[in-house]
Amino acid sequence: MNQPDALGPLVQNDNSPVFDEGWQAQVLALAFNLVERGQFTSVEWSEALGAELEKSKQRGEPDNSQSYYQAVLTALEGLLDAKKSQHIELIDERTEAWREAYLRTPHGKPVEL
């Protein structure tokens, strides 16, 4: 029963770290802070995330925390877009700007836009 290979898929994750990568904490923090500040309601958030998780499942993506947090990010972008937050249209451009900033910044220096 306690042999690792005997454990089912749920229990295998029982002691997994809460976040595998920093951005996962960051997107969840953004979502919770936006709810707290009334930018959207917790019901809107829950429905948006639920819909993205369902799409991820329909696409056959792996049932793991990477897909979960990807759904969090997509739900967040989608919700802001639906709220007609004009700046969200800039997200592709801003993502590229950060990518370029990383590529031009020498190793060990702070990355700035």
Binding site: L10, V18, W23, L34, V43, N64, L73, I88, T95, G108
Partner: protein, 213 residues
């Protein structure tokens, strides 16, 4: 160019520049910087949240509630009647909350079938499995199978009840007080209470008593 050469060149490239984060990390960064610029979010509040939950504040607040309910029958009655109000006595807050008490003949299990609604203020971050589609669907379809996977034994005569958390209503399971804890104070009792016992994927806390002694 062989695959080995291209890998090597990619490695050198990585060394010359700051490590380039992958796409979701870049998008998260872009999103945060835009939201901060527009005044929709306070980056200090985001950082504070990340600091608190990355360290995983854990289930200790939930444990305090359970321990109080074990030692104070009046509190337990108030908790079962209106949990959101009752937990204010412990200076805790958690929106609309309902407590469900495990007994000899009933076992409660919490899930969020839609996404991952969870009383974070009481239990810390939800475990990975709580967010998985496998748990969200199986907890409803086959709760006994899920409990078995977690090593929880419930007899055939024990009723298993599954509660679906939503954005507006969260649940907390009150596990049974294990034997051999007479006279323990609340703090010591709280240390016995596991996160999973308050979700319902752990039932018998007596295994924790020996290690706490």
């Amino acid at each position: 160019m062989t695959e080995h050469d291209s890998d090597h060149i990619a490695h050198i490239h990585d060394d010359l520049h700051s490590h380039l984060p992958d796409e979701p990390a870049l998008r998260a960064k872009a999103l945060e910087s835009l939201l901060v610029e527009k005044g929709m979010i306070d980056s200090a509040a985001v950082d504070a949240w990340v600091d608190a939950y990355s360290e995983d504040i854990g289930p200790r607040n939930g444990g305090r509630i359970v321990a109080r309910s074990w030692t104070n029958p009046d509190f337990k009655a108030r908790l079962l009647e209106n949990a959101s109000e009752a937990i204010k006595e412990l200076e805790l807050e958690q929106g609309h909350l309902m407590a469900r008490e495990n007994t000899e003949d009933t076992h409660h299990l919490i899930v969020c079938t839609l996404c991952s609604c969870y009383p974070m203020g009481l239990l810390g971050m939800a475990p990975t499995w709580y967010k998985m589609a496998a748990y969200r669907s199986r907890a409803v379809r086959d709760p006994r199978g899920v409990l078995e996977e977690f090593g929880v034994e419930v007899s055939e005569s024990t009723r298993v009840r599954v509660w679906d958390s939503t954005a507006e209503l969260r649940y907390l399971v009150l596990p049974q007080r294990p034997a051999g804890t007479d006279g323990w104070d609340e703090e010591r009792l709280a240390s016995l209470v596991t996160r999973n016992s308050m979700i319902g994927t752990h039932r018998d806390l007596s295994d924790r008593v020996a290690s706490a002694n």
